[in-house]
Protein backbone atom coordinates (compact mmCIF):
# COMPACT_ATOMS: atom_id res chain seq x y z
CA UNK A 1 0.00 0.00 0.00
CA UNK A 2 1.23 3.47 -0.72
CA UNK A 3 -0.44 6.04 1.50
CA UNK A 4 2.43 8.11 2.98
CA UNK A 5 3.16 7.59 6.68
CA UNK A 6 2.39 11.22 7.58
CA UNK A 7 -1.03 10.97 5.94
CA UNK A 8 -1.75 7.64 7.62
CA UNK A 9 -0.74 9.15 10.96
CA UNK A 10 -3.00 12.18 10.43
CA UNK A 11 -5.98 10.00 9.57
CA UNK A 12 -5.28 7.54 12.39
CA UNK A 13 -5.01 10.23 15.06
CA UNK A 14 -8.12 11.96 13.70
CA UNK A 15 -10.15 8.74 13.85
CA UNK A 16 -8.91 7.91 17.34
CA UNK A 17 -9.77 11.42 18.54
CA UNK A 18 -13.31 11.07 17.19
CA UNK A 19 -13.69 7.74 18.92
CA UNK A 20 -12.34 9.09 22.22
CA UNK A 21 -14.85 11.92 21.98
CA UNK A 22 -17.58 9.35 21.50
CA UNK A 23 -18.66 10.66 18.10
CA UNK A 24 -20.68 7.93 16.43
CA UNK A 25 -20.72 9.69 13.08
CA UNK A 26 -17.82 11.69 11.74
CA UNK A 27 -16.54 12.54 8.27
CA UNK A 28 -13.25 11.24 6.95
CA UNK A 29 -13.08 12.86 3.51
CA UNK A 30 -14.91 15.97 2.31
CA UNK A 31 -15.99 15.65 -1.30
CA UNK A 32 -15.83 19.27 -2.42
CA UNK A 33 -17.39 19.99 -5.81
CA UNK A 34 -16.66 23.64 -6.67
CA UNK A 35 -18.38 23.31 -10.06
CA UNK A 36 -20.30 20.84 -12.25
CA UNK A 37 -18.77 21.97 -15.54
CA UNK A 38 -16.58 19.43 -17.31
CA UNK A 39 -14.61 19.16 -20.53
CA UNK A 40 -15.70 15.55 -21.00
CA UNK A 41 -19.15 13.95 -21.15
CA UNK A 42 -18.48 10.38 -20.04
CA UNK A 43 -21.20 7.80 -20.54
CA UNK A 44 -20.96 6.61 -16.93
CA UNK A 45 -21.16 10.02 -15.27
CA UNK A 46 -24.37 11.45 -13.87
CA UNK A 47 -22.76 14.60 -12.49
CA UNK A 48 -22.89 17.08 -15.32
CA UNK A 49 -26.37 16.99 -16.82
CA UNK A 50 -27.59 20.43 -15.79
CA UNK A 51 -28.96 23.51 -17.55
CA UNK A 52 -26.51 26.17 -18.65
CA UNK A 53 -27.02 28.57 -15.74
CA UNK A 54 -26.01 25.80 -13.31
CA UNK A 55 -22.99 24.71 -15.33
CA UNK A 56 -21.77 28.32 -15.50
CA UNK A 57 -21.93 28.74 -11.73
CA UNK A 58 -19.26 27.77 -9.24
CA UNK A 59 -18.58 28.10 -5.55
CA UNK A 60 -16.31 30.86 -4.33
CA UNK A 61 -13.05 29.94 -2.61
CA UNK A 62 -14.52 31.38 0.59
CA UNK A 63 -17.58 29.13 0.33
CA UNK A 64 -15.26 26.15 -0.18
CA UNK A 65 -13.13 27.04 2.84
CA UNK A 66 -16.22 27.59 4.97
CA UNK A 67 -17.37 24.07 4.05
CA UNK A 68 -13.94 22.67 4.88
CA UNK A 69 -14.03 24.34 8.29
CA UNK A 70 -17.57 23.18 9.00
CA UNK A 71 -16.80 19.60 8.05
CA UNK A 72 -13.42 19.25 9.74
CA UNK A 73 -12.35 16.14 7.80
CA UNK A 74 -8.57 15.71 7.46
CA UNK A 75 -8.80 14.85 3.75
CA UNK A 76 -10.44 16.94 1.03
CA UNK A 77 -11.20 15.39 -2.33
CA UNK A 78 -11.98 17.83 -5.13
CA UNK A 79 -14.01 16.14 -7.87
CA UNK A 80 -16.58 17.90 -9.97
CA UNK A 81 -17.08 18.62 -12.84
CA UNK A 82 -13.49 19.06 -13.85
CA UNK A 83 -11.76 20.97 -11.05
CA UNK A 84 -9.02 22.27 -13.34
CA UNK A 85 -11.75 24.32 -15.07
CA UNK A 86 -12.42 26.08 -11.77
CA UNK A 87 -10.92 29.55 -12.20
CA UNK A 88 -9.53 29.75 -8.64
CA UNK A 89 -8.24 26.21 -8.37
CA UNK A 90 -4.67 27.30 -7.62
CA UNK A 91 -5.74 29.57 -4.77
CA UNK A 92 -8.18 27.00 -3.39
CA UNK A 93 -5.53 24.29 -3.28
CA UNK A 94 -2.97 26.64 -1.72
CA UNK A 95 -5.46 27.58 1.01
CA UNK A 96 -6.24 23.95 1.75
CA UNK A 97 -2.56 23.01 1.86
CA UNK A 98 -1.87 25.89 4.23
CA UNK A 99 -4.56 24.38 6.49
CA UNK A 100 -2.73 21.03 6.31
CA UNK A 101 -5.57 19.27 4.61
CA UNK A 102 -4.61 16.31 2.45
CA UNK A 103 -6.00 17.24 -0.96
CA UNK A 104 -6.88 14.83 -3.73
CA UNK A 105 -7.50 16.86 -6.85
CA UNK A 106 -9.51 14.47 -9.05
CA UNK A 107 -8.92 15.36 -12.67
CA UNK A 108 -9.20 13.90 -16.13
CA UNK A 109 -5.80 15.59 -16.67
CA UNK A 110 -6.72 17.18 -20.00
CA UNK A 111 -5.72 20.59 -18.60
CA UNK A 112 -3.14 19.37 -16.11
CA UNK A 113 0.01 19.83 -18.17
CA UNK A 114 -1.05 23.37 -19.11
CA UNK A 115 -1.69 24.24 -15.45
CA UNK A 116 1.63 22.75 -14.36
CA UNK A 117 3.55 24.69 -17.01
CA UNK A 118 1.76 27.85 -15.89
CA UNK A 119 2.92 27.26 -12.31
CA UNK A 120 -0.60 27.13 -10.85
CA UNK A 121 0.41 24.53 -8.24
CA UNK A 122 3.38 23.91 -6.00
CA UNK A 123 4.43 20.39 -4.95
CA UNK A 124 3.45 19.48 -1.41
CA UNK A 125 3.03 16.34 0.60
CA UNK A 126 -0.54 17.55 1.13
CA UNK A 127 -1.41 17.67 -2.57
CA UNK A 128 -2.00 14.70 -4.82
CA UNK A 129 -3.34 14.76 -8.35
CA UNK A 130 -5.76 11.89 -8.58
CA UNK A 131 -5.94 11.24 -12.30
CA UNK A 132 -9.03 9.57 -13.69
CA UNK A 133 -7.82 6.52 -15.61
CA UNK A 134 -10.32 3.79 -16.40
CA UNK A 135 -7.95 1.29 -17.96
CA UNK A 136 -5.58 0.78 -20.83
CA UNK A 137 -5.78 3.22 -23.75
CA UNK A 138 -8.72 1.68 -25.61
CA UNK A 139 -10.74 1.07 -22.42
CA UNK A 140 -10.10 4.53 -21.00
CA UNK A 141 -10.91 6.38 -24.20
CA UNK A 142 -14.10 4.37 -24.56
CA UNK A 143 -15.09 5.10 -20.94
CA UNK A 144 -14.60 8.85 -21.39
CA UNK A 145 -16.20 8.84 -24.84
CA UNK A 146 -13.28 10.59 -26.49
CA UNK A 147 -10.21 9.25 -28.23
CA UNK A 148 -6.81 10.60 -27.28
CA UNK A 149 -7.60 11.39 -23.64
CA UNK A 150 -5.51 8.49 -22.34
CA UNK A 151 -2.42 9.80 -24.11
CA UNK A 152 -3.05 13.33 -22.83
CA UNK A 153 -3.37 12.00 -19.30
CA UNK A 154 -0.17 9.99 -19.57
CA UNK A 155 1.77 13.07 -20.73
CA UNK A 156 0.33 15.10 -17.85
CA UNK A 157 1.20 12.39 -15.31
CA UNK A 158 4.79 12.32 -16.56
CA UNK A 159 5.00 16.10 -16.32
CA UNK A 160 3.59 16.12 -12.78
CA UNK A 161 5.95 13.37 -11.64
CA UNK A 162 8.91 15.14 -13.20
CA UNK A 163 7.96 18.21 -11.17
CA UNK A 164 7.83 16.07 -8.00
CA UNK A 165 4.09 16.21 -7.48
CA UNK A 166 2.29 13.34 -5.86
CA UNK A 167 0.22 11.51 -8.46
CA UNK A 168 -2.33 8.77 -7.92
CA UNK A 169 -4.87 7.30 -10.28
CA UNK A 170 -8.55 6.64 -9.72
CA UNK A 171 -10.22 3.90 -11.70
CA UNK A 172 -13.89 3.07 -11.96
CA UNK A 173 -14.54 -0.39 -13.32
CA UNK A 174 -17.64 -1.16 -15.31
CA UNK A 175 -19.42 -4.24 -16.58
CA UNK A 176 -17.35 -6.05 -19.14
CA UNK A 177 -13.99 -4.98 -17.75
CA UNK A 178 -11.33 -7.52 -18.63
CA UNK A 179 -9.30 -8.65 -15.58
CA UNK A 180 -6.22 -9.30 -17.69
CA UNK A 181 -6.39 -5.86 -19.28
CA UNK A 182 -6.93 -4.21 -15.89
CA UNK A 183 -3.85 -6.01 -14.55
CA UNK A 184 -1.91 -4.82 -17.59
CA UNK A 185 -3.17 -1.30 -16.84
CA UNK A 186 -1.87 -1.59 -13.24
CA UNK A 187 1.54 -2.53 -14.66
CA UNK A 188 1.46 0.50 -16.96
CA UNK A 189 0.60 2.90 -14.14
CA UNK A 190 3.25 1.48 -11.85
CA UNK A 191 5.87 1.71 -14.59
CA UNK A 192 5.05 5.43 -14.89
CA UNK A 193 5.90 5.84 -11.22
CA UNK A 194 2.55 6.90 -9.80
CA UNK A 195 2.35 6.76 -6.02
CA UNK A 196 -0.65 4.46 -5.92
CA UNK A 197 -3.93 3.50 -7.52
CA UNK A 198 -7.51 3.76 -6.31
CA UNK A 199 -10.27 1.45 -7.46
CA UNK A 200 -14.02 1.45 -7.24
CA UNK A 201 -16.90 -0.24 -9.01
CA UNK A 202 -19.26 2.06 -10.89
CA UNK A 203 -22.59 3.07 -9.41
CA UNK A 204 -25.87 3.16 -11.27
CA UNK A 205 -26.67 6.87 -11.27
CA UNK A 206 -30.31 7.43 -12.05
CA UNK A 207 -29.19 10.09 -14.51
CA UNK A 208 -26.18 8.31 -16.00
CA UNK A 209 -26.76 7.50 -19.64
CA UNK A 210 -25.11 4.09 -19.39
CA UNK A 211 -27.47 2.16 -17.15
CA UNK A 212 -26.64 -1.32 -18.42
CA UNK A 213 -22.97 -1.23 -17.75
CA UNK A 214 -22.83 -0.86 -14.02
CA UNK A 215 -21.84 -3.80 -11.94
CA UNK A 216 -24.07 -5.74 -9.66
CA UNK A 217 -22.64 -6.70 -6.31
CA UNK A 218 -21.81 -10.37 -6.93
CA UNK A 219 -20.35 -9.65 -10.32
CA UNK A 220 -18.32 -6.84 -8.77
CA UNK A 221 -16.85 -9.23 -6.22
CA UNK A 222 -16.02 -11.79 -8.89
CA UNK A 223 -14.38 -9.17 -11.08
CA UNK A 224 -12.30 -7.65 -8.28
CA UNK A 225 -11.25 -11.12 -7.10
CA UNK A 226 -10.02 -11.94 -10.59
CA UNK A 227 -8.16 -8.64 -10.76
CA UNK A 228 -6.65 -8.56 -7.28
CA UNK A 229 -6.00 -12.24 -6.50
CA UNK A 230 -2.24 -12.66 -6.31
CA UNK A 231 -1.42 -8.98 -6.63
CA UNK A 232 1.98 -8.26 -8.10
CA UNK A 233 4.63 -7.06 -5.67
CA UNK A 234 5.04 -3.78 -7.50
CA UNK A 235 1.38 -2.76 -7.37
CA UNK A 236 0.59 -0.02 -4.88
CA UNK A 237 -2.89 1.06 -3.89
CA UNK A 238 -3.69 4.40 -2.33
CA UNK A 239 -6.57 3.11 -0.27
CA UNK A 240 -7.39 0.83 2.63
CA UNK A 241 -6.40 -2.81 1.96
CA UNK A 242 -9.50 -3.83 3.90
CA UNK A 243 -11.63 -1.96 1.37
CA UNK A 244 -9.94 -3.89 -1.44
CA UNK A 245 -10.68 -7.13 0.42
CA UNK A 246 -14.29 -5.96 0.71
CA UNK A 247 -14.41 -5.46 -3.05
CA UNK A 248 -13.14 -9.02 -3.45
CA UNK A 249 -15.93 -10.35 -1.24
CA UNK A 250 -13.56 -11.32 1.58
CA UNK A 251 -15.19 -8.91 4.02
CA UNK A 252 -18.68 -7.64 4.54
CA UNK A 253 -19.27 -4.05 5.57
CA UNK A 254 -22.28 -1.82 6.01
CA UNK A 255 -22.23 1.54 4.26
CA UNK A 256 -21.03 4.64 6.10
CA UNK A 257 -22.85 7.30 4.05
CA UNK A 258 -21.72 10.19 6.27
CA UNK A 259 -18.04 9.20 5.95
CA UNK A 260 -17.46 11.21 2.76
CA UNK A 261 -19.97 14.08 2.77
CA UNK A 262 -20.42 16.13 -0.39
CA UNK A 263 -20.65 19.90 -0.63
CA UNK A 264 -21.50 21.70 -3.86
CA UNK A 265 -23.50 24.59 -5.32
CA UNK A 266 -26.72 23.17 -3.92
CA UNK A 267 -25.47 22.71 -0.36
CA UNK A 268 -24.65 19.55 1.64
CA UNK A 269 -25.87 16.64 -0.41
CA UNK A 270 -28.13 14.06 1.23
CA UNK A 271 -27.30 11.33 1.93
CA UNK A 272 -24.02 10.70 0.09
CA UNK A 273 -21.86 11.48 -2.91
CA UNK A 274 -23.91 9.27 -5.20
CA UNK A 275 -27.53 9.70 -4.17
CA UNK A 276 -29.10 13.12 -4.52
CA UNK A 277 -32.12 13.09 -2.28
CA UNK A 278 -31.97 16.71 -1.19
CA UNK A 279 -29.63 19.28 0.31
CA UNK A 280 -28.97 20.55 3.82
CA UNK A 281 -27.92 24.16 4.30
CA UNK A 282 -25.27 23.34 6.92
CA UNK A 283 -23.00 20.41 7.75
CA UNK A 284 -24.62 20.25 11.18
CA UNK A 285 -28.06 19.88 9.56
CA UNK A 286 -26.71 17.19 7.26
CA UNK A 287 -25.36 15.14 10.15
CA UNK A 288 -28.22 15.63 12.57
CA UNK A 289 -31.31 15.87 10.36
CA UNK A 290 -30.62 13.24 7.70
CA UNK A 291 -32.60 10.04 8.22
CA UNK A 292 -29.51 7.83 8.03
CA UNK A 293 -31.52 4.72 8.90
CA UNK A 294 -33.02 4.93 5.41
CA UNK A 295 -29.67 4.18 3.74
CA UNK A 296 -27.24 1.29 3.47
CA UNK A 297 -27.97 -2.34 2.69
CA UNK A 298 -29.61 -3.13 6.04
CA UNK A 299 -32.15 -0.39 5.46
CA UNK A 300 -33.55 -2.33 2.52
CA UNK A 301 -33.23 0.80 0.36
CA UNK A 302 -33.23 -0.51 -3.18
CA UNK A 303 -30.74 2.12 -4.32
CA UNK A 304 -28.17 0.86 -1.80
CA UNK A 305 -28.38 -2.88 -2.38
CA UNK A 306 -25.74 -3.23 -5.09
CA UNK A 307 -23.55 -0.29 -4.19
CA UNK A 308 -19.95 -1.04 -3.20
CA UNK A 309 -18.53 2.36 -4.02
CA UNK A 310 -15.58 3.74 -2.05
CA UNK A 311 -17.47 6.80 -0.81
CA UNK A 312 -19.69 4.56 1.30
CA UNK A 313 -17.42 1.67 2.13
CA UNK A 314 -13.86 2.92 2.37
CA UNK A 315 -14.77 4.77 5.56
CA UNK A 316 -16.26 1.53 6.87
CA UNK A 317 -12.94 -0.19 6.19
CA UNK A 318 -10.98 2.57 7.94
CA UNK A 319 -13.38 2.40 10.86
CA UNK A 320 -12.83 -1.38 11.03
CA UNK A 321 -9.07 -0.81 11.13
CA UNK A 322 -9.34 1.29 14.25
CA UNK A 323 -12.24 -0.39 16.02
CA UNK A 324 -10.72 -3.82 16.66
CA UNK A 325 -7.29 -5.38 17.09
CA UNK A 326 -8.20 -7.88 14.36
CA UNK A 327 -9.03 -5.11 11.91
CA UNK A 328 -5.84 -3.26 12.80
CA UNK A 329 -3.74 -6.42 12.53
CA UNK A 330 -5.30 -7.39 9.18
CA UNK A 331 -4.69 -3.92 7.78
CA UNK A 332 -1.07 -3.90 8.97
CA UNK A 333 -0.41 -7.38 7.56
CA UNK A 334 -1.91 -6.49 4.19
CA UNK A 335 -0.01 -3.20 4.11
CA UNK A 336 3.32 -4.76 4.96
CA UNK A 337 3.04 -7.91 2.82
CA UNK A 338 1.01 -6.50 -0.06
CA UNK A 339 -1.20 -9.59 0.12
CA UNK A 340 -4.96 -9.15 -0.13
Amino acid sequence: MSVPISQMWTVATYVLKQRLRGRGRYPLVLMLEPLFRCNLACAGCGKIQYPGQILRKHLTVEQCLQAVEECGAPVVSIPGGEPLMYPDIGRLVAELVSRRKYVYLCTNAILLREKLLAGVFRPSKYLSFSVHMDGVREDHDEAVCREGVYDQAIEAIKEALARRFRVTTNTTLFEGASPSRVRRFFDEMMSLGVEGMMLSPGYSYAKAPDQEHFLRRSRSQRLFSQILDGPKQGWRFNQSPLFLQFLMGKRDYECTPWGMPTYNLFGWQRPCYLLQEGYAQSFQDLMTMTRWERYGRKSGNEKCQDCMVHCGYETSAVHDTFSSWKGFRDAVVATVTGRL
Binding site: G46, Q49, Y50, P51, Q53, K207, G278
Partner: protein
Protein backbone atom coordinates in the same frame (compact mmCIF):
# COMPACT_ATOMS: atom_id res chain seq x y z
CA UNK B 1 -47.81 11.47 -21.48
CA UNK B 2 -47.84 10.50 -17.80
CA UNK B 3 -44.78 10.73 -15.59
CA UNK B 4 -44.79 6.99 -14.85
CA UNK B 5 -44.99 6.18 -18.55
CA UNK B 6 -42.05 8.47 -19.20
CA UNK B 7 -39.99 6.79 -16.53
CA UNK B 8 -40.86 3.24 -17.63
CA UNK B 9 -39.68 3.67 -21.18
CA UNK B 10 -36.96 6.21 -20.41
CA UNK B 11 -38.70 9.00 -22.29
CA UNK B 12 -38.13 12.51 -21.04
CA UNK B 13 -40.66 14.59 -19.14
CA UNK B 14 -39.67 17.56 -21.28
CA UNK B 15 -42.75 19.53 -22.26
CA UNK B 16 -44.98 17.94 -19.63
CA UNK B 17 -47.47 20.40 -18.12
CA UNK B 18 -49.35 18.49 -15.43
CA UNK B 19 -52.26 19.77 -13.41
CA UNK B 20 -52.68 18.49 -9.86
CA UNK B 21 -55.80 16.41 -9.37
CA UNK B 22 -57.12 13.36 -7.57
CA UNK B 23 -54.57 11.05 -9.26
CA UNK B 24 -51.60 13.38 -9.27
CA UNK B 25 -50.84 15.52 -6.25
CA UNK B 26 -48.67 18.60 -6.14
CA UNK B 27 -46.04 16.87 -3.92
CA UNK B 28 -45.79 14.13 -6.57
CA UNK B 29 -45.26 16.71 -9.32
CA UNK B 30 -42.62 18.39 -7.17
CA UNK B 31 -40.80 15.06 -6.75
CA UNK B 32 -40.73 14.66 -10.54
CA UNK B 33 -39.47 18.21 -10.90
CA UNK B 34 -36.72 17.61 -8.33
CA UNK B 35 -35.65 14.58 -10.33
CA UNK B 36 -35.73 16.47 -13.64
CA UNK B 37 -32.41 17.69 -15.11
CA UNK B 38 -33.72 20.74 -16.89
CA UNK B 39 -35.36 24.05 -16.12
CA UNK B 40 -38.97 24.02 -14.98
CA UNK B 41 -41.59 26.73 -14.63
CA UNK B 42 -43.17 27.08 -11.22
CA UNK B 43 -46.71 28.38 -11.56
CA UNK B 44 -47.69 30.24 -8.40
CA UNK B 45 -51.11 30.01 -6.84
CA UNK B 46 -51.47 33.71 -7.74
CA UNK B 47 -50.58 33.01 -11.39
CA UNK B 48 -46.97 34.23 -11.27
CA UNK B 49 -44.38 32.26 -13.24
CA UNK B 50 -40.80 31.54 -12.22
CA UNK B 51 -38.53 29.56 -14.54
CA UNK B 52 -35.39 27.89 -13.24
CA UNK B 53 -33.66 24.75 -12.08
CA UNK B 54 -35.38 23.15 -9.09
CA UNK B 55 -32.45 21.73 -7.13
CA UNK B 56 -33.96 21.06 -3.73
CA UNK B 57 -37.19 20.37 -1.96
CA UNK B 58 -38.14 19.33 1.56
CA UNK B 59 -41.54 17.77 1.93
CA UNK B 60 -40.91 16.92 5.58
CA UNK B 61 -40.05 20.43 6.76
CA UNK B 62 -42.47 22.22 9.07
CA UNK B 63 -43.36 24.33 6.04
CA UNK B 64 -42.50 22.24 2.94
CA UNK B 65 -40.57 24.19 0.30
CA UNK B 66 -38.74 24.01 -3.02
CA UNK B 67 -35.55 25.87 -4.01
CA UNK B 68 -34.66 27.07 -7.51
CA UNK B 69 -31.87 28.80 -9.34
CA UNK B 70 -33.63 30.99 -11.88
CA UNK B 71 -32.47 31.21 -15.49
CA UNK B 72 -30.09 34.06 -14.64
CA UNK B 73 -28.36 31.84 -12.08
CA UNK B 74 -28.54 34.39 -9.27
CA UNK B 75 -29.17 33.54 -5.65
CA UNK B 76 -31.55 30.63 -5.04
CA UNK B 77 -35.22 31.30 -4.42
CA UNK B 78 -37.22 29.39 -1.81
CA UNK B 79 -40.94 28.84 -2.40
CA UNK B 80 -43.32 27.14 0.04
CA UNK B 81 -45.46 24.33 -1.38
CA UNK B 82 -48.49 26.34 -0.30
CA UNK B 83 -47.75 29.04 -2.88
CA UNK B 84 -47.41 26.67 -5.84
CA UNK B 85 -50.26 25.70 -8.15
CA UNK B 86 -48.26 23.44 -10.46
CA UNK B 87 -44.92 22.97 -12.21
CA UNK B 88 -44.31 22.77 -15.94
CA UNK B 89 -41.36 20.86 -17.37
CA UNK B 90 -40.54 23.68 -19.72
CA UNK B 91 -36.78 23.47 -20.23
CA UNK B 92 -34.65 21.04 -22.16
CA UNK B 93 -33.98 17.76 -20.34
CA UNK B 94 -30.18 17.71 -20.17
CA UNK B 95 -30.08 13.99 -19.27
CA UNK B 96 -32.11 12.89 -22.28
CA UNK B 97 -30.74 11.62 -25.55
CA UNK B 98 -27.19 11.03 -24.38
CA UNK B 99 -27.19 7.28 -24.10
CA UNK B 100 -24.07 5.16 -24.17
CA UNK B 101 -25.53 3.24 -27.11
CA UNK B 102 -25.94 6.48 -29.03
CA UNK B 103 -22.30 7.36 -28.35
CA UNK B 104 -21.14 3.94 -29.57
CA UNK B 105 -23.22 4.39 -32.74
CA UNK B 106 -21.73 7.86 -33.32
CA UNK B 107 -18.21 6.55 -32.79
CA UNK B 108 -18.72 3.64 -35.18
CA UNK B 109 -20.16 6.01 -37.79
CA UNK B 110 -17.16 8.32 -37.42
CA UNK B 111 -14.75 5.42 -37.81
CA UNK B 112 -16.59 4.20 -40.89
CA UNK B 113 -16.46 7.70 -42.37
CA UNK B 114 -12.70 7.91 -41.75
CA UNK B 115 -12.13 4.56 -43.42
CA UNK B 116 -14.31 5.36 -46.42
CA UNK B 117 -12.37 6.14 -49.62
CA UNK B 118 -12.21 9.85 -50.50
CA UNK B 119 -14.55 11.03 -53.27
CA UNK B 120 -13.02 10.85 -56.73
CA UNK B 121 -11.74 14.21 -57.98
CA UNK B 122 -13.40 15.50 -61.15
Amino acid sequence: MTASAAREDDRSLEGWAPEPGPNLTLPQIIEWAFDYRGNVTVVGSDGTLLEGYLFNRDAEAAEPFVQLYDRDGGEPTTIPYGRIRTIRFSGRDMAAGQSYAAWVRRREAEKAARLAPPPASP
